[in-house]
């Protein structure tokens, strides 16, 4: 009898305690498919980012993570909790992407990922985040297939190559009146993908493709493929790739017989670096950008970036602004679903966060208005084309 009563007492105590403590944990956590992330007081809410921080593409990773840091700084404090960016090196390879993803999933205080940056690692990391309920917002993974896989967690502020290619082809054909187009790409998933799309769209419009060449990244002399293209006498040259190679191509166009041919670059070639490094040779070259021409937010971002890092945004890579705009909506979503528990801890229901990120609507970023479509395409702004005139980027006539 005595043991019985002791046991009953113990049971009551346990139940009461459970009731008390569970009163601190918000109810949504038990209903949420992925549970809640619990952030202890005096610790930070972490946002992960995977990108190439070493190797030949290190400039992309470093630049975009720096842009994201500005967003973190702008976010300030939320209910007494600060945000933190955990940027890790995925080396730009699928292996690295999966490794970083597994590590992020292990850290329970990482609630969202602004990444990854390259399409290959993003593809490898997606299923891992999907299983753990961590939303993604990629700044620069532009491969078309990524949003066609039915993922609930993947979103991106980067623009699909398909859309950019369509606009570029139309601009070339209708606005600039080009009928003979040559294309060069840099053998990356990004560059070759977009060049292929432009080729298809241009031919569909009725234009003729007179040359399609591929170059390898990291070299310094592309005169041979340019000479070959020159022999076919194109009116314009479309380049799918990044600033580095684009600059070399533009600088070598004159000596390879492509004088007078219009250079048209994708959004990977836009930026102040392109201007300074092509100098006089760059007059008349076109490029694409999705960043707002000018706005208050952009000016403020530019100033903050330059002050913190000593170089202007867009110098290391053209995606600096995307770094900001991939992290800020995540922060916004976190702020909207996080609940402060009775015990002072912050509870972030993961499933609700995934949905909230997917439902981002009309967020005013530095690259434009961010609204996510049902499949995770969050950028609906149209590309703006720019042309170099007088040593400056000037918006090309529409």
């Amino acid at each position: 009898m005595k043991t019985r009563s002791w046991l009953d007492l113990l049971l009551m105590l346990v139940v009461t305690l459970a009731a008390c403590t569970s009163g601190n944990v918000p109810e949504v956590c038990s209903r949420d498919k992925f549970g809640c992330a619990v952030i202890e007081p005096d610790t930070t809410i972490k946002i992960g980012m995977g990108g190439p921080m070493t190797g030949g593409s290190a400039n992309f990773g470093i630049d975009i993570s720096q842009g994201a840091q500005i967003a973190i700084a702008d976010a300030g404090e939320f209910q007494g909790f600060r945000f933190e960016l955990v940027a890790e090196d995925d080396e730009g390879t699928p292996e690295g992407g999966a490794a970083v993803a597994n590590r992020f999933v292990m850290d329970k205080s990482i609630v969202a990922v602004a990444g990854h940056i390259m399409s290959g690692p993003t593809d490898a990391a997606m299923p891992i985040y999907e299983k753990a309920g961590i939303p993604m917002m990629s700044p620069a993974a532009t491969n078309i297939e990524l949003t066609k896989k039915g993922s609930a967690v993947f979103n991106r502020v980067a623009f699909t190559d398909a859309m950019q290619a369509r606009f570029a082809a139309e601009y070339l054909y209708h606005k600039l009146g080009i009928r003979d187009l040559a294309l060069i790409h840099d053998s990356t998933a990004y560059g070759s993908g977009i060049a292929e799309e432009v080729r298809k769209d241009f031919e569909a419009l009725g234009g003729k493709i007179v040359g399609f060449e591929a170059i390898t990244r990291g070299e310094a002399d592309y005169s041979a493929p340019l000479v070959k293209i020159a022999a076919a006498k194109p009116q314009a040259l479309y380049f799918g790739g990044s600033v580095q190679e684009g600059v070399i191509l533009v600088n070598q166009m004159k000596i390879t017989g492509l004088e007078g041919v219009i250079f048209f670059g994708d959004d990977g070639t836009f930026g102040s670096d392109f201007l300074t490094r092509t100098g006089v040779n760059g007059e008349g070259a076109y490029s694409t950008s999705f960043t707002l021409p000018e706005s208050d937010r952009k000016t403020r971002f530019d100033a903050a970036y330059e002050k913190t890092y000593g170089i202007p945004p867009g110098k290391l890579s053209p995606f600096t602004w995307n770094g900001y705009d991939s992290t800020a909506p995540l922060i916004l979503a976190i702020k909207s679903v996080a609940i402060i528990g009775g015990d002072g801890k912050l509870y972030i229901p993961r499933g609700a966060l995934v949905t909230s990120v997917r439902n981002t609507r009309d967020y005013q970023g530095v690259t434009g208005t961010i609204t996510c479509s049902p499949v995770g395409e969050c950028s609906a702004a149209q590309p703006t084309f720019y042309v170099i005139q007088g040593g400056k980027w000037v918006e090309a006539p529409k």
Binding site: T54, G92, P94, E95, N102, R103, G120, N143, S192
Partner: protein, 540 residues
């Protein structure tokens, strides 16, 4: 104070100074200070941490200075009296070392601070020197004061280090003698006594030691995946795949003595074969993993043999470059437009199938880890059987001296081809497992760094020994995962490690038993055993 004593101290000081300057210029000094702060929990005082670290470096420098001075003067003579047995001598050594380090560091800090104060954009030249870093390095003081502070810090810690070094070396000799005496005593006790506990007997008995280690290792490896989480299972899986690759390359480099720098080519062939046979795009062949795996392995082996036929007659260095070129060719081809319809081009191949067992797909890292462990065991089995067979002995003979083995009638070309083919087969196995696990493969996975990683693995771990290769894989693949905060410096450390290991311990961290036998036991045999002549043996 002789010049012979001062010169090494001077040189040590200069070396330490240059290294510290280099570390400061790449931003490592600030990262280390922050790391220390994170460890100790005082993130808000990086300055203190930096001073602490610099002081430690100075201490070490001072100690090394004194030791090199001693080494310089005591080299021909062994008399302990030749050491710096006056505190003054040690003091001067420390002063010299610390002074040199201090001068160099102070000079750098002075120049950088002055330029920064004048408004020069140092970051345009030296990327790591942001204003905050410069502020930290100059200790928050004006340029002249900062320089003097650094100089003073280095001098003081140098002197302290020198005194410490002298103390250790004076007592160290004494401790060394006592340690070796006690070690000998224990050894004699163990050897002579009959009534020892069973465990000690078993341990002392070398023949039983290996199976014991193997069994316990096996048990660990089979039970661990059940306990570890997804992340660690993934990492262990990567390490396992690299062990397979390492064992394969070991057959080529360690056993047959052929330097292959294009190992990634066979890895790529294995990965792409698995990918193209099981993925829905681009060929719509969706064969099962278990069918594709042996095909991948065989195809890789075949490629190895085909590559070997023209190439294996070349000499060591040339072979290395040619295989490097072949690896690059495969990388270029996988990225090319020409082969894009066949291999997916730069976009790679996605949707690679995983293995299914009894209807259940391998979906978690744990299942994959078991599969990888199985492959590792298989590889170990095959390579050790090979090594102890006629083929293995032929390889050893070839690696030692090719002319002689050819003179003895060995068909070196056949054995070289065999080695190449088998190495390629294991690379194909590793590649196929890799692709199946990531469910995605592309040209970015087939880079030169993979070949270099595998080569470094077997060099660091120990060419030719299985536990060595496992250790090498743990060090080169597992350690960077654990040291994530320092990951910007990962490749730098990798390069330095490679150079250091090859100079300091060319046979690796765990050399194969045969070589250890040669070096240590032979020395022992000649030192304290009696040499029995053949005649004596015959008489017994």
């Amino acid at each position: 104070m002789t010049h012979a004593q001062l010169h090494p101290a001077f040189r040590t000081g200069v070396i330490f100074g240059v290294v510290v300057i280099f570390l400061m210029l790449i931003g490592f000094a600030t990262t280390a200070a922050q790391l220390l702060g994170a460890l100790l929990g005082n993130m808000t005082f990086p300055l203190v941490n930096l001073l602490f670290l610099l002081g430690l470096v100075g201490l070490w420098g001072g100690a090394m200075g004194v030791r090199s001075a001693e080494a310089a003067i005591s080299a021909p003579q062994a008399a302990p009296a030749a050491k710096t047995d006056t505190a003054n001598a040690a003091l001067v050594c420390g002063l010299m070392t610390g002074g040199m380090t201090g001068l160099l560091v102070a000079g750098l800090v002075f120049v950088v601070s002055i330029l920064h104060a004048r408004g020069a954009n140092i970051r345009a030249c030296l990327y790591a020197l942001s204003p905050e870093t410069i502020q930290l390095l100059s200790l928050g003081l004006p340029p002249a004061a900062a320089a003097l502070a650094h100089l003073g810090l280095q001098l003081l810690s140098g002197i302290a280090g020198a005194l410490l070094g002298r103390a250790v070396s004076l007592r160290g000799d004494h401790w060394q003698r006592r340690l070796s005496a006690s070690r000998q005593l224990v050894r004699r006790r163990l050897a002579s006594s009959a009534s020892q506990p069973k465990i000690a007997h078993v341990w002392a008995n070398r023949r039983l030691r290996r199976p014991l280690l193997c069994c316990s290792g096996l048990a660990l490896v089979l039970l661990l995946p059940l306990v570890l989480g997804q992340y660690w299972n993934y990492n262990l899986g990567t390490i396992g795949i690299y062990v397979v690759l390492g064992l394969g390359l070991n057959v080529v480099v360690g056993l047959a003595g052929l330097l292959d720098l294009g190992y990634v080519a066979f890895f790529a062939i294995g990965a792409y074969t698995m990918a193209l046979l099981t993925a829905p795009e681009p060929h719509h062949l969706q064969w099962s993993f278990w069918i594709a795996l042996p095909i991948a392995v065989c195809l890789a082996a075949l490629t190895g043999v085909l590559l070997g036929i023209p190439v294996l007659r070349l000499r060591g260095d040339y072979l290395a470059i040619v295989t490097l070129g072949f690896g690059e060719i495969i990388g270029i081809l996988s990225r090319s437009d020409m082969l894009a319809p066949f291999s997916g081009g730069p976009l790679g191949v996605r949707g690679i199938a995983g293995p299914t067992l009894l209807g259940r797909t391998f979906s978690s890292q744990r299942d994959f880890l078991y599969l990888i462990v199985l492959s590792v065991l298989l590889t170990i089995f095959v390579t050790s059987r090979l090594r102890n067979s006629r083929v293995g002995r032929a390889w050893l003979a070839m690696a030692d001296d090719e002319t002689v083995s050819r003179a003895m009638g060995l068909n070196t070309l056949k054995y070289k081809l065999l080695a190449f083919g088998i190495g390629a087969a294991f690379a194909g196995l590793g590649g196929a497992l890799f692709a199946a696990r990531n469910q995605f493969t592309g040209p970015e996975d087939q880079t030169l760094m993979v070949s270099i990683n595998v080569l470094a693995l077997i060099i660091v771990g120990g060419t030719g020994s299985v536990p060595g290769i496992i250790i090498g894989a743990l060090v080169l693949k597992g350690l960077p995962e654990m040291l994530r905060p320092l990951e910007n410096y990962r490749l730098l450390a990798f390069g330095a490690l490679l150079v250091v290991m090859i100079i300091w311990k060319p046979t690796g961290l765990w050399p194969p038993a045969k070589r250890r036998l040669e070096s240590r036991e032979v020395a022992e045999a000649f030192s304290d055993a009696e040499i029995t002549t053949t005649e004596d043996k015959l008489k017994q």
